[in-house]
């Protein structure tokens, strides 16, 4: 560093000064014999100040050791230090590399704080949901019970209008019960989610259809499907996803034709499968596409359509938890197709595709 520098020295000094890593050379008494620009920058000192200053006696490090450099501004730099002995021209020097990891560590900390806040809010949501279930459901059940007793005891004295009022009140209670259950299901998607595991698509669909058997038969609907791949997901949530999407086709069916829901699969994209639920129902106007996935939005406020409008919000939340996406196409009066992109189990990919070829067409 002192005296006449050879070309090689100049080149290496220039190179070292351009390094993003701090470099010190210390002699065997711990004095700094060389420092590059980044090292001076890390210590917040000029090169002149650093040279000849005692830093540390060389203690060779096995792994990188974390050290902290307090700065004048009160900020603390976290630096990974490595000490390697060198033998240069008989003089024993040690090379100290200083790698600033402050931003990485700060980012990690921020991420950790965010994760904790998220966990907290999930826990709050869960507590909120269970508060709803206990505090709201119980009085509701009491009211329903009292109404029944009233209807029985006062049977002879009630006019037709009175009976209709009680009927409406009971219907209101049932509807509110549905809403509470919907909210609970919505709130529990994250809080009570099971780990992601390979689940056979056919199993999911069979369960969803079995759960909807009554509604499918009542509507006289036809549900057809292509061979499904194996998904990577939470089985009970995927069942509820499929169930909600099929149920949507049943609820918003057209009175003019036999309702049909056809489930198709696109596995061309490795890693994810796109499952489509195509119905021949009344369709959804384009301006409502976004709105239907939000909580408590129902397009048709018609008493003939049961449900509380949480179905698609629950679907969206389930799909998001699986790292997938949901979107739709629709033509008013002709029908709607919901598309869901879900992660599929990679090892099963080739198997699933060959199955699809073998057994093409609806089952």
């Amino acid at each position: 560093v002192t005296g006449i520098m050879s070309d090689r020295d100049i080149v290496s000094t220039l190179a070292l000064d351009r390094l993003a890593e701090g470099v010190l050379l210390i002699d065997d008494s711990g004095m700094i014999a060389y420092a590059n620009s980044e090292a001076a920058h890390l210590f917040g000192k000029s090169l002149e100040d650093l040279l000849g200053t005692a830093f540390s006696l060389p203690v060779r490090t096995e792994d990188e050791v974390e050290i902290y450099i307090p700065s004048a501004q009160g900020r603390v730099l976290t630096v990974q230090m490595q000490v390697v002995p060198l033998d240069a021209d008989g003089k024993s020097l040690s090379l100290i590399s200083l790698h600033d990891v402050t931003t990485v560590i700060e980012a990690k900390r921020a991420l950790e704080a965010e994760r904790r806040a998220l966990e907290d809010s999930n826990r709050n949501l869960e507590e909120f949901a269970s508060a709803i279930s206990h505090d709201l459901q119980q009085p509701l059940n009491t009211i329903a019970g009292l109404l029944q007793i009233l209807e029985m005891n006062a049977k002879d004295r009630l006019t037709e209008d009175d009976k209709a009022s009680i009927d409406s009140a009971v219907k209101g209670i049932l509807r509110m019960n549905d809403m509470i259950h919907g909210l609970l299901n919505y709130a529990w998607i994250h809080a009570h989610g099971q780990p992601m595991e390979p689940v056979q698509g056919r199993k999911i669909l069979d369960k969803a259809v079995a759960n909807l058997r009554g509604a499918i038969d009542a509507a006289g609907a036809i549900v057809t499907f292509e061979p499904l791949p194996t998904f990577l997901g939470d089985e009970s949530q995927l069942v509820s996803l499929f169930q909600n999407l099929i149920d949507n086709g049943l609820k918003y069916r057209s009175p003019d034709r036999v309702p049909s829901i056809h489930v198709t699969v696109d596995t061309r994209d490795p890693g994810q499968a796109i499952v489509s639920f195509k119905d021949n129902g009344i369709g959804i106007p384009r301006e409502s596409f976004k709105r239907i996935f939000s909580t408590f939005k129902r397009l048709q406020d018609n008493a003939s359509c049961p449900g509380v409008g949480l179905g698609l919000a629950i679907c969206k939340r389930i799909v998001e938890r699986h790292g997938g996406s949901i979107w739709l196409e629709s033509q008013l009066g002709a029908g709607t197709t919901f598309h869901v992109a879900l992660p599929q189990e990679m090892q099963m990919l080739s198997k699933g595709m060959s199955t699809a070829k073998r057994a093409a067409g609806p089952t």
Binding site: A54, L57, R60, T61, P70, M81, V83
Partner: protein, 104 residues
């Protein structure tokens, strides 16, 4: 036990400059305490002392009682090397009552 007394007298007074109580700091303190009496100084609490001692980074171990000031930056995990620099007998040969100045 006059022998051990003399050995104790050989331990230099140690200062360890730290910053907070991170994993590295706890390890450094533990290691330093294995060497003898050590005064732990947090540079945030005593910035003047840190400046007077020309502390560039933490943790830094300083021994003022050796011929020239010994300073070592790091977690002091290699206690043998630290003992060597401080002129202390190595753990294995302590009872041989090695001359502490031998390496210094």
């Amino acid at each position: 036990m006059p022998d051990s007394k003399r050995e104790d007298a050989c331990f230099p007074r140690l200062q360890l400059f730290v910053l907070g109580r991170s994993e590295t700091m706890r390890r450094a303190i533990e290691n330093a305490q294995a060497l003898g009496d050590v005064e732990v100084i947090d540079v945030r609490q005593y910035p003047d002392r840190a400046e007077a001692a020309h502390i560039l980074a933490t943790p830094t171990l300083i021994s003022l009682e050796t011929e020239s000031t010994v300073r070592i930056v790091g977690d002091l995990n290699d206690l043998e090397a630290v003992r060597y620099h401080l002129g202390l007998p190595s753990e294995g040969s302590r009872h041989k009552n090695k001359d502490p100045g031998e390496h210094g």
